[in-house]
Amino acid sequence: MRREPVIAHESAPRAQFAERLEVLAEASREFAEKGTDPRALVETVAAIVGTRIGETCSVFLIGPDGELELTAYYDAEPAPPSPGDVHVRGHAGEGIAARVAATGQTLFLPAVASDLVSPADRGHGDRTSSLRSVVGVPLRAHGSVIGALVASRHRSRRRYTIHDRQLLEALADRAGVAIDNVRLLASEKAAREAAERAHAETDLLYKLTDAVNRARSLEEVFETSLETIERALGIERASILLFDADDVMRFKAWHGLSERYRRAVEGHSPWSADERNAQPIFVADVSRDPDLASHRHVFEAEGIAALAFVPLVHESRLLGKFMLYSPVPRTFSEREIAVASSIAHQVASAVGRKLAQRDRDRLIEQLSNTVRLNELFVAVLGHDLRNPLGAVLTSAQMLLRQEHGEELRKPLARILNSGERMARMIEQVLDFTRARTAGGMPVDRGPCDLAAVCRQVVSEIEVAHAPCNIELSERGALHGIWDADRLAQVASNLLGNAVQHGEAGGPVLVILDGTAEDHVSIRVTNRGALPEGAAATLFDPFRGAEARHGKAKGLGLGLYITREIVRAHGGSLELEPGTEDTTFVVTLPRRAESAHTRREPEQRGT
């Protein structure tokens, strides 16, 4: 900045120099002390000028909007306050300051001629009208004008000297830098605070997201959301409302609202349920909002002065609203609106997800009930079909035992064969429903000789599927605690499949291995590979039939039931598919610990 030599006019140069040093030293000290508070610093500047140079000092600073503002004023001998005084002060020297700020030049008017003082400087009171001497100097920082310092005398007839002007310029020099520094500090502090606030909000939102995701019920989601929004916005009352099945907004959760209030406003909504573009509505003062006039007395009674309606929207569907309440008129800042919207978004997602989940659960329950009912129906039907079928079979068997010609024997044999096939299918369906509804296939265990069971089954299959080639080999001890009838079913199914689906005439190998101490195994191998892709669904109920390309005559339940019986014995049934042959391996623990033990009859069956 421009420096002028110190030239003394009215007092001895040395004394003036010493005084200037002293004033500047005092100013530096004071500025350092007030170094963090912009307002205190500016007032200090005004006070030093007012006391050391006199009589009054106005500090004008250019605000963020570019307007010059009177920031501090000091009068060494303040006049008693009079109406309009503040107004006068607010404008004193404004014209001079504006000129100084605009030109960046000192305006030095030791003897004020009335025509040089603008109406703005003259003001409306006695003080500016009696302006006698004035000096305005620019306040600079980094070469830019940031304001103006105006010293003026009204009472004293003393005129400002060059010395005063130089002192004021030197003070302005230091004050400009000090003000700029303190402003920088203040803006840094504000930025830091904003960052901390943003961090705290992010943290709150993160915690909300986490809590909402963990929540087991919608009630938990509501409670967490209310707490979060109250903390984020520093409010004490909030509520969440959702549309019910009749599209009426209903309170779901609230803090600090009376029942009377809830009853009075429930159902009121700025949006209808089919609104597609609901935006938040902020009412800074409910007493001035014409839309809320009908409920004004309700708000007054509840002590609500300001309101915010934040829509809860999930996948473009309006679910309800988040309400915020303030006991005093309040304008919500953009930041608060953003926070409220974020929280509302979280709540809406959680509500949307939970509602979808509820719908899914309900649907699954309905489907499960339908499936259970179907299985029960099948079980009852299967059960009741057995009696008439039993009568058919008994009668056919009886007739077959009597002497008849070939023309009667053939159809009787057909009735018997078909009836027996039907009976087997009914047994399979009943086994299937038992396995699915009674918590697993029931088995009745006792001491059992696997070799004897398998020999019997082999001989039966050989009769039923003659001619066929079954090679049975036995190794080790083949005793265990099993359900002999059920194991016969397992062997019969595996052997029957092998004979029917293996290569015609190819041997079926059955290896019973009892060499291990704790378990035995049955390997049934037939020639010929499984059709491609059949293995994946082979054990699925009703699927095996499809996989065998309609070759099967049954329901495709055989392997499913077989595996269920093996599992009920605590064992496993595995398929070992090969390119040349197909092997099923049953592994049975000799004495199962985990699977179903001998059961009580679950009902008094027929």
């Binding site: 009696n387 009568a391 008994t394 009668s395 068997q397 009597q402 009859p601 069956g605």
Partner: protein, 127 residues
């Protein structure tokens, strides 16, 4: 009814008429005297009121009015009837266990196979 008739009389207690009649026919076809009862109560009436003393009772389990369990309880309480052997007709998965619990002499799984029916009856009755 002559003693010889009693030695070869079988009482079939079964609520399903077709099943009951087909069994009766089989038995009669094999030179037994066969009597049918629609349920436990009907059977008990024939035993107590008519004084029927069969060599064997073939007893269904699930029946209206009086089921097999209730019939067995009443039969065992009556000293005159308690000794008549009972074979249970059942489709129950654990038929053997059910028969044991009813303290029956045996069981026949439904649908009843002819050979099994005749060999069982043969064990208790004479033709």
């Amino acid at each position: 009814m002559a003693d010889s008739d009693l030695q070869r009389t079988v009482l079939v207690v079964e609520d399903d008429r077709d099943v009951r009649e087909s069994i009766l026919e089989v038995l009669e076809d094999n030179a037994y005297v066969a009597r049918g009862a629609r349920n436990g109560f009907d059977a008990l009436e024939q035993l107590t009121r008519d004084g029927l003393r069969p060599c064997l009772i073939l007893l269904d389990v699930m029946m209206p009015v009086m089921d097999g369990w209730q019939f067995r309880a009443a039969q065992r309480e009556n000293p005159a009837l308690a000794a008549i052997p009972v074979v249970v007709l059942t489709a129950h998965t654990n038929a053997r266990q059910a028969a044991e619990q009813m303290q029956a002499a045996g069981f026949l799984k439904k649908p009843v196979r002819l050979e099994a029916l005749l060999s069982t009856v043969e064990r208790f009755c004479q033709r």
